[in-house]
């Protein structure tokens, strides 16, 4: 048993070396396919990070009329805090709003003198609302339409963050879809190449296979080297991918971090912590598919 296993592995390596260019092409296609899958993974991670980066900066400022009764402001504050979409609400009283305004325009005497001319605080209280995510803003804006305090609100100021986020989502979704299609195409090509590799190997070894049958080699002994060769190709491909992915991530991560500031993407650590799962599952999927393709090629071309 051990002797046969050793010989099967030996024959598989012989097949690999004797058709080295075919092996190189097959491994290249498998590597390309796996790289595309990993690029999609990185893209997913970076997109999530970009979205959370934007969402963390989203807020709505609600300016109340200068004479708005505090009870209405409190009512709005309580109501908003009770909403599940709201992450945080901060109240800035009218005095603080005025002080902040004055500080902001300290170098502009024209604005300051206009304020003096008014003779009263033109600012009402302000509420700064943070949501959990950009898509929650519709609900928050709708909640501000409540008749209990709607009339006391002078202005609602919010940038169109949702469209920014949906633009990020849309773009990344398009890239992701493109990536999925591309990896699908690469996968298909890889399968065809594997199929062809086995077909060619069977053709090259037809004489040897014929003699094996003649002298009493079992069907499994004849077939196994082709399957083992597929395993070799898959292992080699995944090792090359690992060898490419980690240094590349280490290289690009600082650039992403520079862009996102303190909000680090953690790409390297993500791949380090989940490497076994990520590459293990990729290897298993690759193995299932390539062995399926090999089995199909043997079924069609290897009559033993």
């Amino acid at each position: 048993m051990l002797t046969s296993t050793y010989r099967i592995i030996k024959f598989a390596f012989q097949n690999f070396w004797r058709n080295i260019w075919l092996s190189v092409i097959t491994v290249s296609m498998l590597v390309l396919t796996l790289l595309t899958v990993n690029i999609l993974l990185v893209l997913n991670r970076v997109t999530d990070q970009a979205i959370s980066f934007v969402e963390n900066r989203i807020e709505v400022s609600v300016y109340f009329n200068e004479n708005a009764p505090q009870v209405k402001v409190n009512d709005a504050l309580t109501h908003l805090r009770s909403l599940p979409e709201v992450k945080d609400v901060q109240e800035i009283p009218a005095d603080e709003a005025l002080a902040a305004f004055k500080t902001r325009h300290a170098s502009d005497p024209a604005i300051l003198s206009s304020l003096d001319e008014l003779g009263k605080n033109p600012f009402g209280p302000t509420l700064i609302i943070k949501a959990h995510s950009a898509k929650d803003f519709d609900a928050i804006i709708a909640a501000l339409d409540n008749p209990r305090f709607r009339d006391a609100i002078r202005q609602k100021d919010f940038s169109d963050y949702q469209s920014i986020v949906s633009k990020i989502r849309q773009t990344t979704d398009e890239i992701r879809m493109g990536g999925i299609i591309l990896s699908g195409i690469f996968f298909l090509i890889a399968l065809l190449i594997i199929f062809n590799t086995v077909r060619v190997a069977i053709f090259i070894h037809r004489e040897e296979i014929g003699i094996m049958r003649l002298v009493g080699a079992s069907s499994s002994f004849i077939r196994m080297p082709f399957l083992v060769e597929t395993i070799i190709l898959s292992v080699l491909s995944i090792l090359i991918v690992v060898a490419i992915v980690y240094p590349t991530l280490a290289f690009i991560e600082p650039k992403f971090n520079q862009y996102f500031g303190s909000n680090t993407t953690g790409l390297v650590s993500y791949f380090e912590q989940n490497g076994l799962l990520i590459f293990g599952s990729q290897f298993l999927a690759l193995l299932v598919v390539t062995m399926g393709s090999t089995a199909l090629a043997m079924r069609k071309h290897l009559k033993v």
Partner: protein
Amino acid sequence: MIHFKNVSKFYPPDIIGLDAVNLRVEPGEFISIVGQSGTGKSTLAKLLFAEERPSKGIIEIGGWDITKINASDVPLLRRQIGVVFQDFKLLPKKTVYENIAFALQVAGIPSLRVREVVPRVLSIVGLDDKAHRFPQQLSGGEQQRVAIGRALVHQPKILVADEPTGNLDTLNSRDILELLKKINEFGTTVVLVTHDREIVNRLKRRVITLEGGKIVSDVEEGRYKL
């Protein structure tokens, strides 16, 4: 013992390979199957090592009914039946030693046993001194000796030689014939498929003549009559 019971083999659309052949070969016999091209000689040989299945009838080898043999049992049968062909079927990139060892290796025989058996077989076929040569460095007769050596490594009970001298000159043919006789003397049943008149006449053993897929003559110490 080989026993063909009313064996027929048809090929589509309406070609008759063998037609109701009845044949008994006792252990240790040396038989020659003769006949013109297309009379079913090679079909009979292929049926023996399950390269073909009969359309009708029963084939028994040593009491084992191989008529509907399972694909998984074919390797076991082939380890008991050595086969030699006209075109030698050697692997050109393997040496004489490796070609013979190959038959043992693919059957899962341990390396130690391979190292024991191969030199012994090389000695039987008289190629001890050419173990490390490649087939193209050998004469036709020597190449056929390698093929016979490879057929012998499993110590088969039956050796089927399908036109083993077809590619050889008279001298080499005689050598091969002597080798087959020697193997037969060791107790192996030899089934020689040939249309080489001189070989058959030299042998003076049982001759079975086929014509149109039928046995038309079966003579002990026969001669080539066609």
